[in-house]
């Protein structure tokens, strides 16, 4: 069935932008094939073991600890990225200096680098004998094989999301609006807090959501630096892999379902917040 048949009412009205039926149809088909179909098998698989089995696998102490760690670390990392990602975007947009393009390219490296490579490199640096770890460990701040190490890995993979979503919005911010604030007597701080920050807040929220979602599902870079101790430094994606290696496919699927639900709910809430914020200011 085509989307046009599903949406007869939208068809009848003449629109200045034709093609809704066709493009929406293709979009739905595409999203179904690429996203929804694979994800639905996860639900089907986990349903095979019934409610009791499901909760035994997905609701165990060990799984609970893993969810807390995955989402908690992703949240902290996204917060850190919010601050420093904004700073990097600010520098890239506002100032012109030699090496600016190079710095811009460096920001994208976490996108391109195999995450395992990043994980191994970070572990090397932050372990007790590593370049940074050997300085921090004697101060009572061990990073590697601790939740802190997981946060660092997630900061690494999430940084480009914040920088790349905030950058274009910051670029479009009119200079006149800032100058208006200044001529009205505002200090730099007031201009930033009252004028610039509210204007880029939706972009910041988007960057935060993306970095958070990416961090919650991240596997490759984290497993090297985490230490992977059950209950303490074992992330949820790793727990899924562990179940798979023990041929407990429904159990793995059950944990995946819980992660999906949590992620989806959080992204929905963040989106709703943004819509609300935009309505208020439109």
């Amino acid at each position: 069935m085509t989307a046009a048949a599903l949406l007869p009412r939208l068809r009848r009205k003449r629109s200045a932008m034709p093609g809704l039926g066709l493009t929406l149809g293709i979009s739905l088909l595409w999203l179904s094939l690429i996203v929804l179909l694979p994800l639905s098998t996860v639900f089907v698989k986990s349903a095979g073991i019934g409610w009791d089995g499901f909760w035994q696998a997905a609701g165990s102490e060990r799984a609970m600890a893993a969810y807390r760690l995955s989402f908690g670390a992703a949240f902290v990392a996204a917060l850190i990225n919010l601050v420093f990602g904004l700073l990097v975007a600010w520098v890239l947009v506002r100032y012109h200096f030699p090496g600016r393009r190079l710095l811009g390219a460096v920001v994208d490296l976490p996108f391109a680098l195999p995450t395992a490579v990043a994980g191994i490199a970070l572990t090397t640096i932050y372990s007790q004998n590593g370049l940074v770890g050997s300085v921090l460990a004697p101060l009572g701040l061990p990073i590697a094989y601790r939740p802190a190490g997981i946060v660092i890995a997630l900061v690494f993979v999430g940084l480009p999301f914040v920088v790349r979503t905030v950058e274009p919005v910051l670029e479009q911010l009119s200079k006149e609006v800032e100058e208006a604030a200044i001529t009205l007597g505002a200090t730099r701080r007031q201009t930033f807090l009252r004028i610039i920050l509210p204007a880029i807040a939706p972009a910041l929220a988007t960057g935060f959501s993306l970095a958070f979602a990416r961090g919650a599902g991240e596997y490759g870079s984290v497993i090297f630096i985490a230490g992977n101790m059950p209950y303490r430094t074992e992330i949820a994606p790793l727990l899924i892999i562990t179940q798979l290696e023990e041929y407990d496919y429904p159990g793995a699927a059950a944990i995946a379902v819980v992660m999906l639900m949590i992620s989806f709910t959080m992204l929905l809430v963040l989106n709703a917040l943004q819509v609300w914020q935009r309505r208020r200011s439109a």
């Binding site: 006149e176 208006a180 204007a199 200011s281």
Partner: protein, 238 residues
């Protein structure tokens, strides 16, 4: 208060935007800076406002040398061509912005600020629009809000950069008349930039005609029409 511009020069990378401009504007006067694009009129206005700084020369407000004072400290009101309203704030908060950001000691009480906002809304004939957002207003209404906002802190000078440039003819004329009335009512010294000589002559007490970073003539409209000081002035006002 009077404004004195003494031998001000400014270069942008290679070409000179202003080449030794001097100008004296008396208290309460309404002056137009008129010239083709690239003549340096906007640069001159921005230097007076403190949004740009001259390479050489002095700006005086009264007897005080304000050349190095930042814009925030000059006690000016500035109106931008594209309104530059704060999109995330209501009309009332836009107008109150200059008062809301004052340090606690200097800030008027909440009720006083709201009274001031109402007074300004009335002045620009936008009573009852306080709770709207800039996106819900027409171009002419937005520029009225920008004007009210610029006046909120009782500036000594009102500086306007092509204030009618983005508006259609009818709205332009209405706003022009409104501006003249407001100027006469408050009696503050005002300078506006325009490239439209009819507008300049209709509105200003005196008009400074700029060309290539120099002032060709600074006189009352009638005198410019009777005795143009240079062939450029003759052709520009023709």
């Amino acid at each position: 208060m009077s404004i004195r511009v003494e031998e001000v020069s400014k270069r942008f990378s290679t070409y000179p935007a202003l080449a030794g401009v001097s100008l004296e504007i008396v208290d309460g006067e309404f002056v137009a800076l008129l010239g083709p694009s690239g003549s340096g009129k906007t640069t001159l206005l921005r230097i007076i406002a403190g949004l740009d700084f001259p390479d050489s020369g002095v700006i005086r407000f009264g007897d005080r040398d304000v050349t190095d004072d930042p814009a925030a400290k000059r006690g000016i009101g500035f109106v931008f061509q594209h309104y530059a309203l704060f999109g995330h704030m209501s009309v009332a908060r836009n107008i109150a912005f200059g008062l809301d950001i004052l340090p606690r000691r200097a800030r008027p009480a909440r009720a006083e600020i709201e009274a001031r906002v109402d007074e300004l809304l009335k002045l620009v004939q936008l009573e009852g629009y306080g709770e709207r957002y800039p996106a819900q207003l027409s171009g002419g209404q937005r520029q009225r809000v920008a004007l009210a906002r610029a006046l909120a802190r009782n500036p000594r000078f009102l500086l306007l950069d092509e204030p009618f440039g983005a508006l259609d003819t009818k709205v332009r004329r209405e706003l022009r008349d409104a501006l003249r009335i407001i100027h006469d009512e408050i009696g503050l010294t005002s300078i506006f930039v325009t490239h439209d000589h009819e507008e300049a002559f209709a509105l200003a007490d005196r008009v400074a005609i700029l060309n290539a970073g120099r002032i060709e003539q600074f006189a009352a409209p009638a005198e410019i029409l009777e005795r143009p000081a240079s062939p450029f002035v003759t052709s520009f006002v023709a």
